[in-house]
């Protein structure tokens, strides 16, 4: 049986659509709050996890593979194989703040973010001295309460930003889900993983 770690919520819903494309169905999904689901044919077990926890399950080998956002891979840099991107979970990592904030001309900046390393690296690259404040949720509050100049966060539709009077100032990189595999699993469970991997890639390519 192949064990796959998938982030709860939107990504899980999209992943299930992908699996269905090649005949792997989970009729139990969404019926209850179960965190471990077996596919109807019993070939795949899906473990629903918090997005940022996905790499841990795969790195330690508790799960053979996983679907995880590129943002998390860049932030945590886990020791796993990153086989290919999937056409799901698309969004952008952005710097956001009040319209007209001219960050390129700032000598120093205070940014609030859940992605401390990503934010630090980005401002370092621009040569702007940055103080990063780690915030775990509702990051939009930080500039509104004058705690920071800007935020570095994932933007999907931009609705939350707009409703709070903020807008995207710069796009840092595109985010999409990546299919990751445990190092030992890829080698030692290759015969069972191979068809699954191939089918998943084909299904994802068709989704464009």
């Amino acid at each position: 049986m192949i064990k796959i770690a998938v982030a709860k919520g939107r990504v899980a819903k999209q992943a299930i659509k992908l699996f269905k494309e090649f005949g792997i169905t989970f009729s139990e999904f969404d019926l209850n709050r179960k965190l471990i689901l077996n596919s109807d044919d019993g070939s795949v077990q899906m473990v629903l996890v918090k997005p940022s926890d996905t790499p841990i399950y795969v790195e330690t080998g508790v799960c053979d593979c996983g679907i995880v956002g590129k943002d998390i891979l860049l932030e945590d840099n886990p020791d796993v194989y990153r086989l290919f991107p999937l056409n799901i979970g698309r969004c952008k990592m952005c710097v956001a703040g009040f319209e007209g904030t001219d960050i390129r001309n700032m000598k120093q900046i205070v940014a609030a973010s859940k992605f401390v390393n990503t934010a630090k690296e980005y401002f370092d690259g621009l040569g702007i001295k940055a103080k990063i404040i780690k915030i775990n949720g509702s990051v939009e509050l930080a500039p509104l309460l004058n705690m920071s100049d800007v935020i570095v966060d994932i933007v999907e539709s931009g609705v939350t930003l707009k409703e709070n009077g903020l807008s995207v100032l710069e796009e840092i990189f595109d985010i999409y889900s990546v299919f990751i595999v445990n190092k030992a699993s890829l080698k030692m469970k290759h015969s069972s993983l191979k068809p699954f991997i191939e089918n998943l890639q084909k299904a994802s390519d068709r989704m464009v």
């Binding site: 841990i56 790195e59 330690t60 080998g61 508790v62 945590d76 020791d79 796993v80 194989y81 990153r82 086989l83 290919f84 991107p85 990546v178 445990n182 190092k183 030992a184 699993s185 890829l186 080698k187 030692m188 469970k189 290759h190």
Partner: protein, 379 residues
């Protein structure tokens, strides 16, 4: 929980005992290596990994690194020893790394062997045979060994003018991660020629069955150094056949030479139960020359924390005591004589005070009857 902790200690003792006995059988001598090393030396020889090492400041204000890389400490130790003909050492050590993730251990228990002999298929395959057989001696059989060679990827990248020396690590990292997507973007950004690009992308997934991957690799090889690397791997593989170990051996030409550490054959042993590599090794002649003044070196390290994780929880071998002898003040003489006799016969015996005299067979957890004691040691 208590019970579990108890067994963990026994597992480590069992691992260390069994492995050191095994290494000795292959002609290795134990050495002890220092705990501290000046930070300057870590920097000088490029052993410093992104501030992963733990440091402290001594009384004179010098910065010391707490052992973060066992091989480096072995090399520094060996540099102080007189060189000899058959120089093979093993060590058992903790290494400390500040990996900065909540779920990784900062304290890693390792054993390892380092053989200071110049490159040859015979020497290299002997070390690989030792790596595999030492795992078998622990009862671990569900494993797989991947072979590679440092020059295969390196001498391909060397040909590509668009990739500068300090950018090689980036390409290595993407190949190591089998991350074709980011590799393609990177090579495109650098305007790398399509022939090279296609080869590098193919190398990411160049792993699996030995013969099959070898023939694919031959098609990818475009210079003598790449072909020499493959010849070398084949030479070692052919000897491993004579050890009857070839069924455990696969290829993965997509694992690369981080920090330019290795100079020849490289190998990793995977276990599915450990969720990753338990053994990591290869040949590192450049470092052996530079640091220890030896003509060459090949070795491996084994992660004992992951190995302990694979061992079955209840294994008789973990119990190092064979007999428990309980005695009172009245029969202490009998107790001493009996334990001396049993120890002379090679058993491990623990003598303790008890309410009345008895001999307990620890493995079977039962008291011996009088006639059983007589059978064991005579009247």
């Amino acid at each position: 929980m208590l019970h579990r902790e108890d067994n963990t200690q026994k597992k480590y003792a069992f691992l260390k005992d069994t492995l050191s006995m095994f290494y000795k059988k292959y002609g290795y001598e134990q050495i002890t290596i220092p705990m501290f090393m000046p930070y300057e030396l870590y920097k000088k020889f490029n052993f410093s990994h992104q501030n992963e090492e733990l440091k402290l400041i001594d009384g004179n204000g010098n910065i010391l690194v707490i052992r973060a890389d066992a091989t480096f400490h072995v090399l520094k130790t060996v540099s102080t020893l007189k060189s000899k003909e058959n120089e093979k050492y093993f060590y058992e050590a903790k290494v400390f790394r500040n990996i900065n993730k909540d779920y990784t251990l900062d304290e890693i228990n390792q054993t390892g062997v380092e053989c200071f002999l110049k490159e040859s298929d015979i020497v290299d395959s002997d070390i690989i045979a030792l790596a595999l057989s030492s795992l078998f001696s622990l009862g671990i059989k569900d494993i797989r060994l991947d072979l590679s060679h440092a020059d295969f990827v390196y001498s391909l990248i060397e040909e590509i003018d668009e990739i500068k020396k300090d950018e090689v690590e980036i390409v290595h990292k993407f190949i190591e991660q089998k991350n074709r997507d980011d590799l393609i973007s990177y090579l495109d950004k650098k305007n790398v020629d399509k022939t090279y690009k296609d080869k590098l992308i193919d190398i990411c997934m160049l792993f699996g069955d030995f013969e099959e991957v070898m023939s694919k690799a031959r098609a990818i090889a475009i210079n003598d150094k790449m072909n020499d690397a493959l010849d070398k791997i084949e030479g070692v593989y052919n000897i491993l056949k004579l050890y009857d170990l070839d069924k455990y051996v696969y290829l993965d030409l997509g694992f690369t030479n981080a920090m330019n550490y290795y100079s020849g054959i490289m190998f990793k042993v995977y276990s599915i139960d450990a969720g990753g590599e338990i053994i990591n090794g290869g040949r590192y002649d450049r470092l052996a020359r530079k640091i220890a003044g030896r003509s060459g070196a090949c070795g491996f390290s084994q992660n004992l924390d992951l190995t302990a994780q694979i061992l079955e929880d209840n294994n008789d071998d973990f119990f190092s005591i064979d007999y428990l002898i309980y005695c009172t003040n009245e029969d202490i003489k009998k107790g001493i004589d009996m334990s001396t006799e049993l120890r002379d016969k090679g058993y491990n015996v623990s003598l303790i005070e008890g309410k009345n005299f008895k001999v307990v067979d620890r493995k079977n957890n039962k008291s011996l009857k009088r006639e059983e004691i007589v059978n064991l040691i005579g009247e």
